[in-house]
């Protein structure tokens, strides 16, 4: 038996640290350049400040996601995946993390200035 107190404090520390890291993910500063990745390849790099409003359809193995750029923000409007998590994530500016569609291997995220360490938090 491992000490019960030790295990309990491990749980509490895990809870607090991950909670703080989550809050940081929402509040951390980020640039205005967005990358759209499909199946691990970067398809588009978009500067939201300069991009005109438009729709991009991204296909992966025959399944489609419709990405909308509007007033300097970006979201997924339509997807033919079963769970629609990417659509319900909403606008990237309010998401606190990348927009991810696991079934269609799609990731929309702010381009990292400081490399991967910043993303790992």
């Amino acid at each position: 038996m491992i000490n019960r107190k030790l295990l309990l404090s491990a749980v509490i520390i895990m809870f607090i640290v991950s909670g703080a890291a989550t809050a940081y993910m929402y509040l951390r500063p980020h640039g205005r350049t967005v990358e759209i990745e499909s199946g691990g390849r970067i398809l588009y790099t978009i500067d939201l400040d300069r991009e005109k409003d438009r729709e991009i359809v991204i296909e992966y193995e025959g399944r489609k996601n419709t990405v909308v750029i509007s007033s300097g923000d970006i979201c997924v409007r339509e997807a033919d995946c079963p769970d629609h998590v990417c659509i319900r994530t909403g606008w990237l500016s309010k998401a606190g993390g990348p927009i991810v569609c696991l079934p269609n291997r799609l990731v929309i995220r702010y381009k990292e200035g400081g490399g991967l360490d910043a993303a790992a938090g």
């Binding site: 691990g40 696991l102 079934p103 991967l116």
Partner: protein, 171 residues
Amino acid sequence: MQRQDRTARLTRLALLSALALIIFVVEMQIPSPVPIPGVKLGLANIITVYAVYHFSCGEVVLIVLTRVLLGAIFGGNPAVLPFSLTGAAFCIAGMTVLKRHIDEKDLWIASVFGAVLHNLGQTAAALIVMRTAAVVAYLPMLIFSGCIAGTFTGLAAQFMIKKFPRGIDRK
């Protein structure tokens, strides 16, 4: 083991698998409050944590594998199978070790570690499948939600054990 015993054991495993599948399908109808891939209560894991403490590791694998595979068919989302399977593998491996160190009275603590390990496994699978480090950005949220979901399912399993102290694994 006698033939009768083996049949009884098989029946119990089938019963638990069916229970887990029903919970899984019902939970699927509840929309997730946070639209983050991988975040959910995972109520079906009430059965998993119960099984970890009452069955052998191989039997737990059978129960979870049956539920995950059939769940993907009923849920119509086989594309997320690699993530659920890796998560389940991490969770079962971790909890099998932890059950030797954590008393059944504190099952919820083991459940928290199980849930967090599940989400770590999911993220590992996402890293490989999506081929992007961007998914790591969700790790803090997944660990945080794992703590909450694990506590909840663990306590639910404890209530179940209290309600049926003789369990369904004993005659």
